[in-house]
């Protein structure tokens, strides 16, 4: 396979980039990124959410064209117009969402699209099986190739995703958070597989924010933060604390908020637990949220935050534990009943769950309030009352739009999020469950949204803030609770929260 890619091509690193930049409106997703992954190495790309990793991957795959800068293959500039161009250059990608096809065996998934054949187009199963066994040996993994995709354990599917790229001739593998869905022993196995493949001359781009794994396996590390390269250096000599500091940065602004004056407990999570396939299970999670305080949940993505959101919002059924809101047991309450008791929910997925993009601003603003007396009587909606309310909210939250009748989808990301905020904070809720409140929002928008959250707290509201932006959590939260592998690992009051200590508990160390 390596001859396709010119194993002996002169000079240059196998895959690299010079000055790669990409903006979405005022948001600079990638800002003059330089990196070079040498042949036969594992090159880690590290950074938090929004650091620009996924945009960079899209550029390297030919899914997005950079605004400026060049992709280099074997040291020579190339232009990828489509994923096929990247594949032809020997670059294959394993996404976080698997692309194996259910209903097919693992072997069938491996050979799909390039099947060894006998007469009449029949698949030569003997050749295919031998090739598969050889690949598994090469990578040092055990795979039962006869399993159907949906029956295979997740680490086997993960390995097949990777081996399939090699089978199809790739020697540069881009792995996007490959350990996110794996349990610790399987993670060790995957890291060993990566090392084996590297030793056979493949080049691996390892995208991760799990620092232990990066330090365990990477030869070189490039750290991204807010779209820029912070550092690009050999992994040797780097320790976890240093890497965490590089990744999260120092808190740039001292906490601006007044100290909180917590009141009575309004939301109590008591021993919550979930099951669930593939994902991390939440285990015995307890937390008490008081009026007038912001509690942040800090953790690397996929360590149980989604489950907390699902259970508190009522979108996921509670299997274990109890929930109380304003003294009432809401464990079995529907989302509607919880909202009636004063729960507001700012969704992390603005486009699908937080807003209805095809509906108008006004229609989005009344969602969840539509049955309140202000907006109508006896099941009828009052368009005049709704229009008045929409004008009032648009003005109060400074939403830039032509008219409240405009579809929300036509607004910028920041203004869309303001619409969602304006709706959720209406009618003085008791608790705001705010998830990734500033994701995909530009700097001006971020400031405005932070203001609103703090103002809500100062007026006596309770906020459960879930964010992947550590900086945001430190700025806003009166307390930070860290979570790892579905369990609570620590709690830090405002100010005392040294970034580094939070970082360590986010990585599984239990705070004393």
């Amino acid at each position: 396979m390596s001859e396709i890619n010119g194993a002996d091509a002169a000079g240059g690193p196998r895959l690299g980039g010079v000055g790669l930049s990409k903006s979405f409106g005022p948001l600079k997703a990638n800002d003059r990124i330089d990196f070079a992954a040498r042949r036969g190495t594992i090159h880690a790309i590290v950074g938090g959410n929004g650091a620009g990793k996924s945009t960079l991957m899209k550029i390297l795959q030919g899914l997005q064209a950079p605004d400026a800068g060049t992709v280099l293959v074997n040291g020579a500039p190339v232009v990828f117009r489509s994923p096929n161009d990247a594949i032809r250059a020997g670059i294959g990608m394993v996404h976080q969402e698997f692309t194996l096809i259910p209903g097919l065996t693992l072997l069938e998934n491996l050979i799909l699209g390039d099947e060894p054949r006998r007469a009449f187009g029949a698949i030569d199963r003997r050749v295919a099986g031998a090739r598969a066994a050889e690949l598994a040996d090469l990578a040092g993994v055990r795979i039962d190739w006869t399993l159907m995709e949906e029956e295979a354990p997740v680490h086997m599917r993960q390995a097949v995703e990777i081996l399939r790229l090699i089978y199809r001739g790739a020697d540069v593998l881009i792995l996007d958070e490959p350990t996110a869905v794996l349990a610790p022993p399987q993670i060790r196995e995957l890291l060993a597989l990566m090392a084996n493949l590297r030793d056979q001359g493949n080049t691996i781009l390892f995208i991760s924010h799990k620092l232990d794994e990066v330090l365990a396996v990477a030869d070189e590390v490039t750290v991204l933060r807010t779209g820029r390269v912070v550092v690009s250096r050999p992994a040797a000599g780097l320790d976890k604390a240093e890497l965490a500091r590089l990744m999260t940065g120092e808190p740039v602004t001292a906490p601006t908020a007044k100290p909180a004056t917590p009141g009575a407990a309004v939301l109590e999570l008591d021993g919550l637990g979930t099951g669930g396939e593939g994902a991390v299970a939440l285990e015995d999670f307890s937390l008490v949220l008081h009026a007038g305080e912001i509690v942040g949940i800090a953790g690397v993505a996929g360590n149980g935050q989604d489950q907390i959101v699902g259970l508190v919002s009522g979108l996921m059924p509670t299997l274990r534990g109890r929930l109380r809101l304003a003294g009432q047991d809401i464990t079995q309450h529907s989302t509607r009943e919880r909202r009636a008791l004063g729960l507001a929910y700012l969704s992390p997925d603005r486009k699908q769950e937080g807003l209805c993009l095809e509906a108008s601003i006004a229609e989005n603003l009344i969602a969840s309030h539509q049955r309140k007396p202000r907006f109508g009587k006896a099941g009828f909606l009052n368009p005049i009352a709704i229009a008045g309310y929409a004008d009032e909210r648009v003005a109060a939250f400074d939403i830039k739009c032509a008219s409240p009748q405009q579809p929300v989808g036509a607004l910028s990301g920041g203004n869309q999020q303001k619409v969602a905020m304006a709706r959720e904070l209406y009618d003085s809720p008791r608790v705001l469950l705010a998830c990734q409140p500033t994701r995909g929002v530009d700097i001006k928008g971020i400031a405005a949204i932070h203001q609103e959250i703090l103002a809500f707290r100062d007026a006596g509201g309770a906020v459960l803030l879930i964010s992947e932006e550590l900086e945001e959590l430190v700025q806003l939260s009166d307390r930070i609770v860290t979570i790892y592998g579905g369990r609570r690992t620590g709690e830090f009051p405002r100010g005392a929260a040294a970034m580094e200590r939070i970082g360590r508990t986010m990585l599984g160390e239990v705070a004393a």
């Binding site: 994923p83 096929n84 096809i101 799909l112 099947e115 187009g121 029949a122 979930t274 299970a281 274990r320």
Partner: protein, 298 residues
Amino acid sequence: MITDILFSALVMTTPLILAALGGLIHRSSGIVNVGLDGMMLLGALVAIIIASGGNWAVALVGAGFAGGVTGWLMSLGITRLRANEIIVGLGLNIAIAGAIRFYLKAAYGSSGNLMLPDVSRLPKIDLPLPGALGAVFSGHSILTWIAWALVPLTAWVLSRTALGLRLRACGTSAASAAAIGLHPKRMREGAGFVAGALSGLAGAYLSIGVVGLFNEGITGGRGFIALAAFYFGANRPWATAACALLFGIFDAVQIRLQGRGFPAELIQTLPYIMVCVVLLLLGLAARRRAQGKAASHG
């Protein structure tokens, strides 16, 4: 008596197997084909027109081709114009039925029926089998045996060949298949041709195999029974064929029982009820699996 019923059950099963296998192939590629009935009707008409004063083999080719082109066009509407497959299928049935009646009136001045001279009927194969075996299996048309031969062939192609593998891949996950360089749209269009062609043959079997004339009700909704068969057979060729055989037996029994006070209309609804029951059981099983998974965790 019982041999008569079994013989006619095999006759009734033939068009069901052909159309159901076509529907199965189309569904494996990712499209639920509700237009099988219309393609069958078209095949029946084309076959009898060509076979009148002509040759049954040419008639079969013509019927298969006409059905195939229709199935291909239908798939184009779904793949390229992103039309809803069910609505297109239903619309196609209405349009084809209308077009055929229009044609019969415009070309032959007849309303819904067509009797032509010198129809070259499908040849029947006499097997030298003794007694009851002979009574059941001897004297079937060549298309009956082709239909049954297509069952293992389809099973083999789907499970053992590169083409079948790709077809299933495109049907299950078009995006994943496209990501590795396959062409799900073309695959679906090709499968649409096959589905239409097999339905066309099923229609030809009815017109030049069974009755020797054409009328607008000749399919008797068998395209929808075929739909029930491949749903019930869950995309497995042998299970689908077994289901078609079961429906064929229903059909044969029902004809015998008519006039003896047995409710033929109710028996005819059995395939449709069975589809609903199967979907219900699958849904219940899926829920139990999901609950089991959630409970076993943590």
